[in-house]
C-alpha cells in the first residue's frame, strides 16, 4: 500500500491517449444556421476587461463545449448567452449576442423572455428549498406557461432528465433529500420543464462523482436530439465524449496593466480539436502541458 504513488491512482489527466472522441457524427465544418452567435463580444467587470472579441456560432441540436484554463472567461461568455450577467453588479457587455439572428442585448429585448428560451444549469446543484414536484413546476408557473396537466409535465420533465424512476414515489418530499447527482439532474429537469430552446450548462458535473457524471453525460447526449446545448467544462474527457464542437479559450495578460483578458483561441469540430489542433496553445492545453 505504502508504495502506491499518486500517478497510479490518478492517471495523468488530459494525455491524448486517454481521450475517446464520441462516435463520429457527420457535421458541417461550421454550424449552418446557428441558433446562437456571439459577434465581437467583449465583457467588462467594472474597468476589468474580462473577455475580448469572442466570435462563436452554436449549431442547432449540437453540443458545444467551451474549455480553457481557469479565469479565461468561459463562464462569463456563457452568462452573456442568456443575460445572466445582467445580475452581476458592474458587468458590462459590448458586441452582439444573436439568438436566431436577433441581438438579445438590444434595448427592447426583455431578459426574462430570453431566459425562458435559453435555460441554464449551474456548477453547483441549486434546487429550490421546495418539494421535488414544486421545483419542476416552478418554471412553468412563473412564466405563465399554458399547462393542461401539471402532473404530466412534471413526469415528462423528470423522465427527460432520467430521474423519474428514482423519485416517482417521493415527489412531495424536499429536493434537499436527494443526492448531489440527483439534485443536478433535478436542476436539468427543472430547466427542460419550461421547454427552452437552448440549455446552457456551467461545469454541470464538477460537483459529481464519476457515476453521476456518466449519467449526466448520457443525458446530455439524449437531450441533444431536442435541444441545443452549450457546456463549459474543465474535464477534457467530458468535452471529447459529449461535444460536437469545442471552443478553446485562454487568458492573455495585458502588456500595460497585467490584467488577464480571456480570448477565444480556436473553435472547431471536437474531433479536430482533440486530434489535430491548429494552434500550439490548444495542443499544449489538451495534452496537459499547459502551466
Amino acid at each position: 500500500m505504502a508504495s502506491a504513488t499518486s500517478s497510479d491512482t490518478f492517471p495523468q489527466m488530459g494525455s491524448l491517449g486517454e481521450v475517446h472522441v464520441s462516435a463520429e457524427r457527420r457535421l458541417p465544418d461550421a454550424p449552418v444556421n446557428p441558433v446562437m452567435e456571439t459577434r465581437d463580444l467583449n465583457v467588462f467587470y467594472g474597468d476589468f476587461h474580462a473577455v475580448h472579441d469572442v466570435n462563436l456560432a452554436y449549431g442547432r441540436h449540437e453540443i458545444t463545449a467551451m474549455i480553457g484554463p481557469s479565469g479565461c472567461g468561459k463562464s462569463t461568455v456563457l452568462r452573456c448567452l442568456n443575460r445572466m450577467n445582467d445580475l452581476v453588479a458592474g458587468a458590462h457587455v459590448e458586441g452582439e449576442v444573436l439568438y436566431h439572428g436577433q441581438d438579445i442585448y438590444q434595448k427592447n429585448v426583455d431578459p426574462i423572455a430570453v431566459r425562458t428560451q435559453i435555460g441554464m444549469v449551474f456548477q453547483k446543484p441549486n434546487p429550490f428549498p421546495k418539494s421535488i414536484y414544486d421545483n419542476i413546476a416552478y418554471g412553468p408557473r412563473v412564466t405563465g406557461m399554458k399547462v393542461d396537466n401539471m402532473d404530466d409535465l412534471v413526469e415528462e420533465a423528470l423522465r427527460g432528465a432520467a430521474l423519474w424512476d428514482e423519485v416517482k414515489d417521493k415527489l412531495k418530499q424536499s429536493a434537499y433529500g436527494l443526492s448531489g447527482g440527483q439534485q443536478q439532474r433535478l436542476c436539468i429537469a427543472r430547466t427542460i420543464a419550461t421547454k427552452p430552446d437552448v440549455i446552457l450548462m456551467d461545469e454541470p458535473c464538477s460537483a459529481l462523482d464519476p457515476i453521476a457524471t456518466a449519467r449526466v453525460e448520457d443525458l446530455m447526449l439524449e437531450l441533444r436530439n431536442e435541444y441545443t446545448i452549450i457546456v463549459v467544462t474543465h474535464n477534457m474527457q467530458q468535452a471529447a465524449r459529449v461535444s460536437d464542437r469545442t471552443a478553446f479559450f485562454t487568458a492573455r495578460p495585458d502588456e500595460t496593466t497585467g490584467n488577464r483578458t480571456g480570448l477565444l483561441v480556436e473553435y472547431d469540430l471536437t474531433s479536430t480539436i482533440f486530434s489535430n489542433p491548429n494552434d500550439k496553445r490548444t495542443e499544449d492545453y489538451i495534452s496537459g502541458r499547459f502551466g
Binding site: N82, M84, L87, A89, I112, A113, R115, T116, G119, M120, F122, K124, N126, P127, F128, P129, K130, Y138, G139, V142, T143, S174, Y176, C187, R190, T191, T194
Partner: protein, 313 residues
C-alpha cells in the same frame, strides 16, 4: 476512555515510518480551560437570572391567590378590581393593530433593502432603519398622544375617538417595531444563497416572483423570528400604551375606545400607592406572570409553526 495515553504508550504508532518519534501526547492548555470556565459561568448566569425572575414572580402570586379567588382574577368583568381578561383583550388588540402595521411595512422594507435597493442605497438606508429602533418609547408615546390621536385620527380621518384609544396606541406600537422587523428580516433575506436567486432568474422568473416564491420561503424561519421578536416587543411595551391607550379597564373589541393593557395596568399599579405585600401589589405579579406565560406560549407556537413550514436551504 482509552485515548488519554501519552506519547509512546501506543506500541506500534507510526513504527517504521519517518516521523515515528513525533510527540502526539496531550499538552495542557490552561488558557482554553480558563476561557471555557468563563464562558460556562456566563451561560449559567443568564439561566440563573431567568429562573430567579420566575421565582420572584411566583412567590407573590401564591400569596395573591391565597386571598383572591380564581374566579375574580380570571374574569371578564371590567368592574371587578382583579379581572385580568379585559387587560388581556386590550393587549391583544393593540398588538394585533401593531402587527397589521409593522408586518407588511417591515417585510416590505426588508424586501426592498435586500432585493431591490442598489448597494449604495442599502449602505445608507439600513443603518438609518436601525437607528429608528433606538428612539425611546416615551417619544413614541407622546407622538401618539400629541399627533396621531388629535391630528391623524380626529382631524384628518374624522374618527370619533377619545383622548386615549387602542387604535392610536396600536398604530404607534406598530411604527415602533417596524425597524426591528425590517432589520432582522433583511438579515434573513440576505442570508439566502445567491445561487437560489440565480436559479430562479434562469427559469425566467422576474424579481417579484423570485423574492416572493424563492427568497421569502427560504428565509421564512428568520422572518418568523423577526416577527416574533417584534410581537414580543409590542406585547411588552409599556410607555406607549400607558400614555395612549388609557388607564381605564375596558372589556371591548372596539379599537376606537380607550382600554388598559396588561403592561399599562402594571405601570399604574407599580406607581407607588400600593404597599409592598398588599393584595393590590400582588396583583401586579399575577398579571406579570400571565404576561410571561402569554409571551412564552406565543414563542413556542411560532417555533413550532416555523419548524413545520420552513424551507431550509
Amino acid at each position: 476512555m482509552s485515548s488519554n495515553n501519552t506519547a509512546g504508550a501506543g506500541p506500534s504508532l507510526g513504527a517504521g515510518l519517518p516521523g515515528a518519534s513525533v510527540n502526539l501526547g496531550r499538552k495542557p492548555r490552561p488558557g482554553e480551560t480558563a476561557i471555557k470556565a468563563v464562558l460556562f459561568v456566563s451561560a449559567m448566569l443568564s439561566v440563573a437570572i431567568t429562573v430567579g425572575i420566575l421565582v420572584a414572580l411566583v412567590e407573590p402570586v401564591i400569596h395573591f391567590f391565597a386571598e383572591v379567588p380564581f374566579g375574580d382574577f380570571f374574569s371578564f368583568d371590567e368592574g371587578q378590581r382583579f379581572a385580568v381578561f379585559p387587560l388581556i383583550t386590550a393587549t391583544l388588540m393593540t398588538t394585533a393593530i401593531a402587527l397589521m402595521v409593522s408586518v407588511p411595512l417591515g417585510l416590505g422594507a426588508a424586501m426592498y433593502l435586500s432585493e431591490y435597493a442598489s448597494r449604495r442605497a442599502r449602505k445608507y438606508l439600513k443603518p438609518t432603519v436601525e437607528l429608528l429602533a433606538g428612539v425611546p418609547s416615551v417619544v413614541y408615546g407622546f407622538f401618539a398622544v400629541m399627533f396621531v390621536t388629535p391630528t391623524l385620527l380626529q382631524d384628518i380621518l374624522g374618527l370619533g375617538v377619545g383622548f386615549t384609544n387602542a387604535l392610536a396606541a396600536g398604530l404607534v406600537l406598530g411604527v415602533m417595531i417596524i425597524p426591528t422587523i425590517a432589520s432582522l428580516a433583511e438579515d434573513a433575506f440576505s442570508a439566502v444563497p445567491q445561487a437560489l436567486r440565480q436559479g430562479s432568474y434562469a427559469m425566467g422568473a422576474n424579481r417579484m416572483q423570485t423574492t416572493l416564491r424563492v427568497v421569502l420561503p427560504a428565509a421564512l424561519s428568520g422572518v418568523a423570528a423577526a416577527i416574533v421578536l417584534g410581537l414580543s416587543r409590542a406585547v411588552g411595551e409599556t410607555m406607549i400604551v400607558a400614555l395612549a391607550a388609557g388607564s381605564q379597564k375596558n372589556f371591548s373589541l372596539n379599537p376606537l375606545e380607550g382600554m388598559q393593557t396588561m403592561t399599562g395596568f402594571m405601570a399604574t399599579t407599580a406607581g407607588g400607592e400600593n404597599p409592598v405585600g398588599s393584595t393590590s401589589y400582588n396583583t401586579l405579579f399575577a398579571v406579570g406572570l400571565t404576561l410571561f406565560v402569554i409571551t412564552f406560549v406565543i414563542n413556542m407556537v411560532s417555533i413550532a409553526l416555523v419548524r413545520r413550514y420552513r424551507q431550509a436551504y
